[in-house]
């Protein structure tokens, strides 16, 4: 059998033959990226992990349908996006209060306490939590296609073509979605972009 230059494709061919080791390797390579996408798209860590698991179960179940002509990450994120859309539709049909959400009297408080293991002071930690909540909120308010395009754009591995394949639209449409999404985010997050509060969040700066 011909060796594949794309290691993911080679692993998937092994998964098609029922190779669990190859499946484990695929999860080790891509679970974090899928979880990040779902976490930032849904804003719920537990749900993101559950859905990530479902994404990989779906990958295993549908392995026979995978064709090497398609890039594995494109296929993977298409599954992830579909499951994410299902979850968003389910939420729209059955709106429920999250146990993580603050009660109405504390609406101004950060939406979620993000555990931060860096040895920053409490002020920095608070700023960081607030900032993350604001970014998450701004992302959450974007239209789904714009949010997905922006989150996939963060993935170094995905080109515009790959993102277009995941979203099922043209290359131009992807560029437009990213541009419009970023413009909205810049408007929403302007105070943070100006004051430089993000500097606490990025040790490189």
């Amino acid at each position: 059998m011909a060796e594949h230059a794309d290691p993911d494709a080679a692993l998937m061919l092994r998964v098609q033959r029922g190779d669990r080791r190859a499946f484990e390797a695929l999860m080790a390579r891509h679970a974090q990226a899928v979880a990040n996408f779902l976490y930032h798209a849904l804003g719920d860590a537990a749900e993101a992990e559950d859905l990530t698991q479902n994404v990989f179960l779906q990958v295993y179940k549908s392995a026979a349908r995978y064709r090497v002509t398609a890039k594995f990450t494109t296929w993977l994120f298409t599954i992830a996006r579909n499951l994410c859309l299902n979850e968003l539709r389910r939420r729209a049909r059955h709106p429920a209060l999250s146990l993580d959400a603050p009660p109405p009297e504390f609406e101004d408080a950060p939406a979620r306490a993000v555990p931060d293991l860096r040895p920053d002071g409490p002020v920095d930690t608070l700023l960081l939590s607030e900032l993350e909540a604001k970014i998450q909120e701004a992302l959450g308010d974007l239209p789904e296609a714009q949010r997905t395009a922006i989150l996939l754009y963060r993935e170094q591995d995905l080109s515009y073509d790959d993102i277009a394949a995941v979203l099922g639209c043209s290359l131009t449409a992807v560029k437009s979605l990213i541009h419009r999404g970023r413009e909205t985010l810049k408007r929403r997050l302007k105070p943070y972009l100006r004051t430089g509060e993000w500097s606490a969040a990025d040790p490189q700066l």
Partner: protein
């Protein structure tokens, strides 16, 4: 691989924060091509940093093991296992063969249904014949019905006087 050049670095700067070397190369390129500098470049860079600063999803260290266990649970169910094996077997065929197989299966099912209908019809007919033959015991003899049509077509009205007829024939 070649290091990314000006326009590529501009693109890259929207995707992730640049390394100091990349940033220096981009600044040098923008100094030579000031017309390429976007109007809100500082905000663009700041937004990229903000998005990059989003924390990764907290994923359980046992994620892989948990997923494999979930897979085992799914495959452990006899119905699911049978169904998934069937699906895997089916997925091994080209779509044209799958359609052809489905057509043959449908034709076989239709044929089977028609055969059953035919059999049912035959049984019903046999039962009808049996019922008729049971009733036939109470009917008059076939010889008595030989003139049935003639009798049926006799005109309505008073019957002829049979004794007078007999006398006339003598």
């Amino acid at each position: 691989m070649n290091a990314p050049q000006g326009p590529q670095l501009l693109e890259l700067a929207r995707r992730r924060p640049l390394t100091p070397a990349e940033r220096a190369a981009l600044d040098a390129w923008l100094a030579q091509h000031p017309e390429a500098r976007p109007a809100d470049w500082a905000e663009e860079l700041a937004l990229t940093r903000l998005l990059a600063a989003l924390p990764p999803a907290p994923l359980s260290p046992r994620f892989v093991e948990n997923t494999l266990a979930a897979l085992d649970r799914r495959e452990g169910k006899p119905a699911a296992s049978w169904a998934s094996a069937w699906c895997r077997w089916l997925a091994g065929f080209q779509p044209a063969w799958r359609w052809a197989g489905a057509a043959v299966l449908l034709a076989a099912m239709l044929g089977g249904w028609q055969f059953q209908q035919h059999r049912r019809e035959q049984v019903r007919l046999a039962e009808s014949i049996l019922a008729v033959s049971t009733l036939a015991g109470d009917l008059p003899d076939a010889a008595a019905l030989a003139e049935f049509d003639v009798v049926l077509h006799l005109p309505d009205g008073p019957l002829p006087d049979l004794e007078a007829l007999a006398r006339a024939l003598e």
